[in-house]
């Protein structure tokens, strides 16, 4: 029976706590008597027979939906859309659950005599997936059957000939998605729900959308009114996507949603990284030795070698649930299953929230975690891992640990470089950035060209990263990055500190000397249910 997540009150006997720190780690001693650590739950028991669970879900849909086989008929146009490289993190070991689901859907389609099938990576404005990445997601058999015939490809949000405008929501939000998907008799959406933000109408209304459509919810106002975007019922991001879903439905777009959830088995229960999944006071002498050896070895390696090691890690996640059918009904169940793994009750807010940022976020798979992504991971994702109220009080301090080097992947993140060098040099205010620069970057022909033909995130994407952290920016009084490149940290508008002790000293200027501290021990993923 896996143990649930819990909150540890730090006392004098508490050992140093693990902080992820990019492609390395730090062990930090938190002040006794005023610190606590929010630990994730142990991995939930996975499904014993995933394929059987998938078949069961397809035959026993949730909500107002017939079974999938009843929706399939000869001569129909079927589009299978699936989540892209940003999920899950780190990538999962083969076979990826998307492959399993897609193979099951294709088996049913074949049985029903459906031969007009397209598979689309629903990447919105993310970078295109490479062949290797697509093969990993859908499996070699599916890839070889469809890609050579042009029936398996990446969504292109800038292809004017392959976008379909479907109307506007009651709030005036334009809905424009992939034309092949919009004009299909059925869209089967294959999702991996790593965090509660994923899934639901966000899958199609965002994953298959154009910039024209996305800008209505990927903006500062929406993100500042999403409290948090991990809590759908209090998230304006989701409200907007749900309104767009209404337009999709009313336009006759039929979606059969298949959502899956994964457990917390990110680093494995054995092997080189398994120590990262254990609670520090339970580390054995062998764990300690393994950790010290790993850290010493990593710290001696050049960054490229370290990055290669970490990027090659594939998590042994177990699949905990598969549900299919009508989008909203499916997503309610999915969300509960995600919460079952990740939610940990936490009593009250804290003055200082600490977090160790790992080497990966949704937008640097096989890439570089640049400073903008550091901000997005810390103030966007980690800060928003709450339900109820933010873990840190308004005006409090966030301390993040990450090397935050002034480094960008030139192929994946070209517009990020300009955003960092040009825009952040002028202002870090999300509203001002949005007003002054977003349009220019979004409509830049070169960025558009690279997004469409290379492997670049869309020109506007760094703005979205900044907006993702805008609720956090608005909420906290100070952000400190421990162990980061001071120049890059200052460009972000944050304060650099060499050690956690220095950071706590700096934080005391804002929240006083007896401030309470909470460390979010993440990853594996944990979400605070703050009372």
């Amino acid at each position: 029976m896996p143990r649930p997540g819990f909150v540890l009150d730090v006392d004098k006997s508490t050992p140093p706590i693990l902080f992820h720190h990019g492609e390395s780690f730090r062990l930090e001693r938190l002040p006794a008597g005023r610190s606590r650590v929010v630990y994730p739950a142990e991995p939930l028991e996975p499904l014993e027979d995933v394929d059987a669970a998938i078949r069961h879900a397809l035959d026993n849909p949730i909500g107002d939906s017939p079974p999938l086989r009843a929706l399939l008929r000869p001569g129909m146009k079927l589009t299978i859309a699936f989540d892209d490289i940003s999920l899950p993190l780190p990538p999962m070991r083969r076979p990826d659950v998307r492959q399993r689901v897609i193979e099951a859907v294709l088996d049913l389609a074949a049985e029903a005599g459906v031969d007009d099938v397209h598979l689309i990576a629903a990447l919105a404005l993310h970078r295109r997936m490479t062949e290797a990445e697509l093969r990993h997601a859908v499996g070699d058999r599916v890839y070889d059957a469809f890609a050579p015939h042009g029936q398996l490809y990446n969504h292109d949000a800038e292809d004017p000939d392959n976008l379909e405008f479907l109307g506007t929501t009651r709030h005036g939000e334009e809905v424009e998605i992939n034309k092949r998907a919009a004009t299909s008799d059925l869209i089967v959406y294959v999702n991996i729900n790593l965090v509660s933000m994923d899934g639901g109408w966000k899958s199609t209304a965002t994953g298959l959308a154009s910039y024209r459509s996305l800008r209505h919810h990927h903006n500062v106002r929406t993100m500042q009114h999403s409290r948090s975007f991990m809590d759908r019922h209090r998230s304006e991001l989701h409200s907007s996507n749900w309104r767009m879903g209404e337009v999709l439905r009313n336009s006759g777009v039929k979606v059969f949603q298949i959502e899956t959830t994964l457990n917390n088995d990110t680093f494995g229960t054995s092997g080189p990284l398994s120590v990262l999944q254990k609670r520090e006071w339970e580390w054995t002498a062998r764990d300690r030795a393994a950790f010290i050896a790993m850290k010493a070895g990593l710290d001696r390696l050049p960054i490229k070698a370290r990055r290669k090691i970490f990027n090659s890690w594939q998590a042994p996640y177990g699949v905990t649930s598969v549900q299919a059918g009508e989008v909203e009904a499916v997503h309610e169940v999915t969300t509960q299953n995600t919460f079952a793994q990740q939610l940990v009750p936490v009593e009250g807010q804290t003055d200082i929230l600490t977090m160790g940022l790992p080497y990966i976020c949704p937008y640097n798979v096989n890439s570089v975690m640049n400073p903008i992504l550091v901000m997005c991971l810390g103030l966007g994702y980690f800060f928003n891992m709450y339900r109820g109220q933010p873990l840190v009080r308004e005006g409090g301090v966030v301390i993040m640990s990450h090397p935050t080097t002034w480094e960008f992947h030139p192929v994946h993140h070209p517009s990020y470089i300009d955003f960092f060098e040009q825009c952040l040099a002028e202002t870090t205010d999300p509203l001002e950035l949005e007003a002054r620069y977003e349009k220019q970057f979004a409509e830049d022909e070169w960025y558009r060209h690279l997004y469409r033909t290379s492997y670049a995130y869309h020109g506007v994407h760094p703005f979205y990263m900044w907006y993702w952290g805008s609720h956090g920016l608005q909420h906290v009084g100070k952000v400190i990055i421990v162990g980061g490149d001071p120049r890059a940290v200052r460009r972000l508008g944050f304060s650099p500190a060499s050690t956690l002790q220095d950071a706590l000293e700096m934080a005391s200027d804002v929240v006083g000397r007896d401030a309470t501290i909470t460390h979010l021990h993440n990853p594996p993923l944990v979400m605070a249910d703050v009372s």
């Binding site: 470089i417 300009d418 060098e421 040009q422 040099a425 002028e426 220019q440 409509e443 830049d444 022909e445 070169w446 060209h449």
Partner: protein, 384 residues
């Protein structure tokens, strides 16, 4: 009188070349420049006046001369020995405080009729700077007959004298000459968007002059050092980037395409190079839009540069040298309005010329802009 004198001494010149390459400014200690007691220059004619320099700036062209890196182009248009210093504010015998227009064109040279360029007021295009009553010399500070600002006394023709108002500080006034260069350069720019390369004295003043002449022009500037960045922004640059960031900034500002090797498909409509190094000229050519003009304001030298982009994109490379008389009037007005005295970072007495030149050669890295000689306290100044 005391003067820094630059003599034709080949052995010392060679030593300066070597030292200057190893350490910019080092040519002052081993080269042909020395502090001497010399006879005051004689007045070449009745329309000439004596000028007692108060401040005299150290310019990039002076540094190139001292370090032996300037072009042999200048050989027939300078005369040895000369006293450097063409950025001068000084006192006339009648007490007038004035700046000097140092160009030695037809009129100071006593040539009548004047050349066609001088007839049109284009004294910077004068065809006779090596002829007439004076020894050759394109400007005071490079001419044996007139002396230069790095001394306690020099001479100038009345046509070269521009009185300055009482409320203009000496520090601001000593910047009038380089500012006039910038005013002239700005008058040659018509592009709606301009990249200014370099934020030394000339770069900063060009930004200011551009902003003054063309309030709606969009100015993108490069600056290596933090103080240069802030001054460039204060003086009118819309955006300031590090030199290594310029290509990306131009691409972003213009929305043009970019090849995998970083080469731009298009470029910016106007480029003003205020550095004059091989690197800056090459960069200027790389970022200029097809069919546009790169303006070379900073003094270049003998250089190797890939001219393929100039050819393939029909980019013109145009010099911007000195000024015309009216540019000085604009410069005097601007120097006061922009409080340019703050750009004078340090002054030195003549005897500390080695330190002064070393400081000027590393001005940017040492947080400075303009370094000048301060002659106001030189004892001999009052007794000549």
């Amino acid at each position: 009188m005391k003067a820094l004198v630059f003599k034709r001494q080949p052995a010392k010149f060679a030593a300066a070349m070597v030292a200057g390459r190893l350490q910019p400014g080092a040519g002052a200690k081993v080269g042909p420049l020395s502090l001497r007691d010399v006879d005051p220059p004689e007045l070449p004619g009745p329309d000439w006046v004596r000028v007692r320099p108060r401040l005299s700036g150290i310019c990039g062209s002076d540094l190139a001369t001292i370090d032996g890196t300037s072009s042999r182009w200048f050989e027939p248009i300078v005369s040895f020995p000369f006293t450097p210093g063409h950025e001068v504010v000084g006192d006339l015998d009648d007490g007038t405080r004035a700046v000097v227009v140092p160009v030695l064109s037809c009129t100071p040279r006593g040539l009548d009729p004047v050349c066609p360029a001088c007839a049109e007021g284009r004294i910077n295009h004068c065809e006779r700077i090596g002829f007439g009553d004076l020894e050759p010399g394109l400007q005071c500070g490079f001419c044996e007959s007139t002396g230069g600002g790095w001394s306690t006394l020099m001479v100038a023709h009345r046509s070269q004298i521009v009185p300055v108002p009482d409320d203009l500080s000496d520090e601001a006034a000593v910047l009038v000459e380089p500012l006039a260069c910038a005013v002239h350069a700005a008058s040659l720019v018509t592009a709606p968007r301009v990249a200014v390369l370099g934020a030394g004295t000339l770069g900063l003043l060009t930004i200011a002059a551009l902003r003054h002449a063309r309030p709606d022009v969009e100015v993108l500037a490069t600056a290596k050092h933090p103080h240069q960045r802030s001054l460039a922004a204060e003086l009118g640059a819309d955006r300031v980037v590090a030199p290594g960031e310029l290509e990306r900034a131009v691409r972003s500002a213009t929305g043009t395409m970019r090849y995998d090797n970083g080469q731009l498909g298009g470029g910016i409509e106007g480029v003003v190079d205020c550095v004059g190094s091989p690197e800056s000229i090459a960069q200027a050519l790389r970022i200029a839009a097809p069919g546009t003009t790169v303006l070379a304001v900073g003094m270049p030298g003998v250089t190797t540069v890939d001219l393929t982009p100039l050819w393939q994109r029909e980019v013109a490379l145009k010099g911007a040298y000195a000024y015309q008389r009216a540019d000085f009037d604009t410069a005097v007005e601007l120097a006061a309005r922009l409080d340019l005295g703050r750009l004078v970072s340090a002054t030195y007495p003549l005897r500390a010329y080695g330190d002064a030149i070393a400081h000027a050669a590393h001005a940017g890295a040492r947080g400075a802009v303009k370094i000048a000689f301060d002659l106001r306290s030189e004892k001999e100044r009052e007794t000549i």
